[in-house]
Amino acid sequence: MLTRLAYRSFQSLLVTFCLLITVFATDLRAQDDLRAMVDALGEGSFAKTVEQVEALARTGDPKIVPALEALAAGDLYQRNSDKQVFLTRTAGGTLTLVDPLTGEEVGTEAASALTKIRVNNSLRRAVRTALGGLTLMSPDAGVRLQAAQTMLRSPSADALEQVETALAAETNANVKPVLERARAAALLVSDRPDDEKKAAVAVIGNAGGQDALSLLSAALASADDNLRPDIEAAISSIKERQALWSVGQNVWYGLSLGSVLLLAAIGLAITFGVMGIINMAHGEMVMLGAYTTFVVQEVIRTSFPGLFDWSLAIALPLAFLVTGAVGLAIERGVIRFLYGRPLETLLATWGISLILQQAVRSIFGPTNREVGNPSWMSGAFELGGLTVTWNRLWIIVFALAVFTALLFLLKKTPMGLQMRAVTQNRRMASSMGIRTPWVDALTFALGSGIAGIAGVALSQIDNVSPNLGQGYIIDSFMVVVFGGVGNLWGTLVGAFTLGILNKFLEPYAGAVLGKILVLVLIILFIQKRPRGLFALKGRAVEA
């Protein structure tokens, strides 16, 4: 009895054990197969590798996701000795090898013992689509959303069922509409019946935007007569909506260009507008501000990498101090001897601008310097039909903030009062006990300092090279003259008017002709109103 029981339990144990072994073995074999497929990524041409990626995608095994991600990022290497493929992490001169499927570290190799698996655009596209398919069911909603967007951008009939399964299981309100569009996009390229396709056209048409236009135009090329009118109607309705949005887009671009002009010109509005100095070295102050940003970022990169997102905030006061000090030195050293002699001031400041450029060229070299965008200034977001890039948005905000601060300084502080007093009636101000030479020096330093902080902002969108300033000097003078010399509000309105005008002309006339037209319009305008938009009135002007 006892033996029989023991025998039976032994039997069941044996069966379980055998079962376990089979399961384990099949799992192992699957693992081996996958491993072989991953290893095959290292062989052959780009076209071969694309086929391999597609084959991997067909397994539907989420274990290959890290390997594919590494392939796209260029971190997948083949070991020369045994042709095995590994994920790698750089550690000094050697590479740490990581198993692509299990994620375990397997050892280290010298970089020369490995060959990088090269990627090109078609391979990257294949990886993107494969990853999209594999991550559609990911537990993370953000990953699912990205996967759905990928499927929407590169629709394929093969993936239709996959998308439909994902759609049925989807509960997240953000991901669902994107998946619905992805399903519609895949449906359009499949061989489903026309009435389903009509519904799909409606789904995509309602979504609107450039992606939808692209999908529908592609579908139109292969559509039959039954479907054609639907697609055409959807395309024309999208185009109508886009035409409306494009006006908004132009205004936005204009505001953004205007804010750059405002930043570049606002310092000049003080040195040229308020003080009347034709300051050709203004652009170089902007450049010095940009180089200050570069130096700050360089120090942060080498010593305090964690602070990188704060680099601009740190650079702002420093740029103000550096350029302000240079401005002070220029005023005390050169300009104060030349008051009342505009031609000589022009020549002297132009000479200073050349000296500053060449000095920067000698110190930092003639090539461009890399100033990085902090993470909060990178990328873009969609606002209806508008694409708004973060760096442009922040520059508009920043330009307005600088303008407000300057206005406050001039109108509400004792220093501002003295500045205005000196520029309006120097002798009277002097009689009231104001030390006019110092006010001159400080005003010039203020204008230069503001140009410096403009340089911090411009380093985010333009080259940081010794020539940076030259590109802005003409535009700055144009804004100040157009807006009205000596009037800050004029500079503000002038900058935004020129920005928007430029951006409305550009789509029709092209960038080159647009710029010429703006210049001609300004010349005509100055003929009519020699003192600009907002002319100063009163006795000070006549003097």
Binding site: F46, G74, R118, N120, N121, S122, R124, R125, R128, Q210, D211, L213, S214, L215, L216, S217, A218, A219, L220, A221, Y253, S256, L257, V260, R332, G333, L354, I355, Q357, Q358, R361, G365, P366, T367, N368, R369, E370, N373, S378, G379, A380, T387, T389, N391, R392, I461, D462, N463, V464, S465, P466, N467, Q470, G471, E506, P507, G510, A511, V512, K515
Partner: protein
């Protein structure tokens, strides 16, 4: 007052250093080599590097014993990105300093302005930059790429490997982009691309506000056909252009941009992570893996004492041109212009991409064409190259008024624009 004194000091120092550069060590037992690159002004950004590269090559050659038993001596002048000044400085190099050959110029307009000087004084210029073609001069050797060594293979690559059907030709508004785009447009139409699938766009030098154009490109690319941008945008304008592309999310997988004026040097001022996969077509990349290039990069980094300095295609062109000149002078046994001009044709020297480049009778050289994709580390990775060397074609076969012209500077013909249709020397250009 102290500031004034200091300024005067700085000025004196500047004057002194230029005189030193101008060849204060003149001696009779040297062969002089002129270097005509802008060291100030807008083009200094690109040309200063070439000046340094030339000085390095000359120094290396002197270590090997110079040329014809004499030391080489560099004479550096600064034409300051000012086109008429190029002609003046060229004349100074040839007539006052009596240099045996000049290496220099970058922009086409600077080359055009010095052509009459080299013709009149019968001296030699080596021009190291890719250019628009449509020129072949007796006194000039073109070591950069002609359009068929850069632009046309790049377009072929995109058409065949990426299936591109819609094209944006974007360029800076001057002679090189305009002529190149004219050739490309004719080529694309000959290949069966519909005119409405080609968008041409020009921008001023140093253009910095690319919002409208990038969004136009996105719009143009939303027509359901694969779209690519062919960029002849020059120098400084590239950084804001690529920044805007990155920010507006134009990915290389969707709309690739292939550039003809963006090399390692231009990328040094950029965070290239958002740009991975955008392309450039050149005849050399720093990443090309072979012993000659590794040696060149090592020497360059040691010479500039900067581990981060990059090499680029025009530097390789100077490397080839300089070595060709050395070989030709040795062959001729003299630096006399006419003898060297004759000896130059057929001279073959190693290039840095692992092969040999030969000077052809049309004064252009043979080169491989490489297509590279931008990597996150600011380098290019070659994704395609021509199977063999490509001979520079000075007169484009795709333009109506130059397709019958050929150039051959060997003895019986000796003509830069021989018209095969009429059988006469002369026609368009000079």
């Amino acid at each position: 007052m102290t500031i004034k004194a200091r300024l005067t000091g700085a000025f004196l120092a500047a004057v002194l250093s230029t005189t030193a550069l101008n060849g204060a060590f003149a001696a009779d037992d040297t062969i002089k080599v002129g270097i005509l690159h802008s060291l100030s002004g807008t083009m200094a950004i690109s040309e200063t590097t070439l000046k340094d590269a030339m000085l390095m090559l000359i120094e290396e050659q002197n270590k090997k014993g110079g040329l014809l038993g004499k030391k080489l001596e560099a004479v550096v002048v600064d034409p300051a990105s000012d086109w008429p000044l190029f002609a003046e400085k060229a004349r100074e190099l040839v007539s006052v300093d009596k240099v045996s050959a000049v290496f220099g110029c970058w922009t086409s307009v600077s080359r055009k302005s010095v052509l009459p000087v080299f013709e009149e004084t019968n001296s030699i210029l080596f021009y190291p930059v890719q250019y628009e073609g449509e020129e072949s001069q007796r006194n000039v050797f073109y070591t950069g790429a002609a359009p068929n060594q850069q632009a046309i293979p790049a377009v072929d690559y995109l058409m065949e490997n990426e299936g591109v059907e819609r094209w944006v030709l974007a360029g800076t508004d001057y002679v090189y982009p305009r002529t190149t785009n004219k050739i490309l447009e004719a080529y694309l139409i000959a290949k069966g691309v519909a005119p409405e699938d080609i968008m041409i766009n020009y921008t001023p030098f140093g253009h910095s506000d690319w919002q409208t154009i990038v969004s136009d490109i996105k719009g143009f690319g939303a027509a359901g056909k694969k779209t690519a941008v062919v960029s002849t945008i020059n120098g400084d304008a590239n950084v804001p252009f690529y920044k805007e592309l990155g920010n507006q999310g134009v990915k290389a997988e969707d709309i690739p941009v292939v550039a003809f004026s963006v090399g390692e040097e231009e990328l040094a001022g950029l965070d290239t992570a958002p740009l991975v996969g955008h392309l450039a077509a050149w005849n050399y990349f720093q990443s090309v893996d072979n012993p000659a290039n590794a040696e060149f990069i090592k020497t360059w980094k040691a010479y500039t004492k900067n581990d981060k300095r990059v090499t680029n295609d025009p530097m390789e062109a100077h490397y080839i041109g300089f070595n060709m000149w050395l070989k030709a002078v040795e062959k001729a046994g003299t630096t006399d212009t006419d003898a060297v001009l004759d000896a130059m044709i057929g001279v073959s020297v190693p290039n840095l991409s692992g092969g040999y480049s030969t000077m052809m009778p049309n004064h252009h050289i043979t080169k491989p064409v490489l297509i590279g994709e931008i990597q996150a580390d600011g380098q290019f990775e070659t994704v395609w190259e021509t199977p063999g060397l490509v001979v520079g074609d000075e007169w484009s076969d795709y333009l109506a008024d130059s397709k019958d012209l050929i150039s051959d500077w060997r003895a019986p013909m000796s003509c830069g624009n021989f018209n095969v249709a009429t059988g006469k020397c002369g026609g368009k250009g000079s």
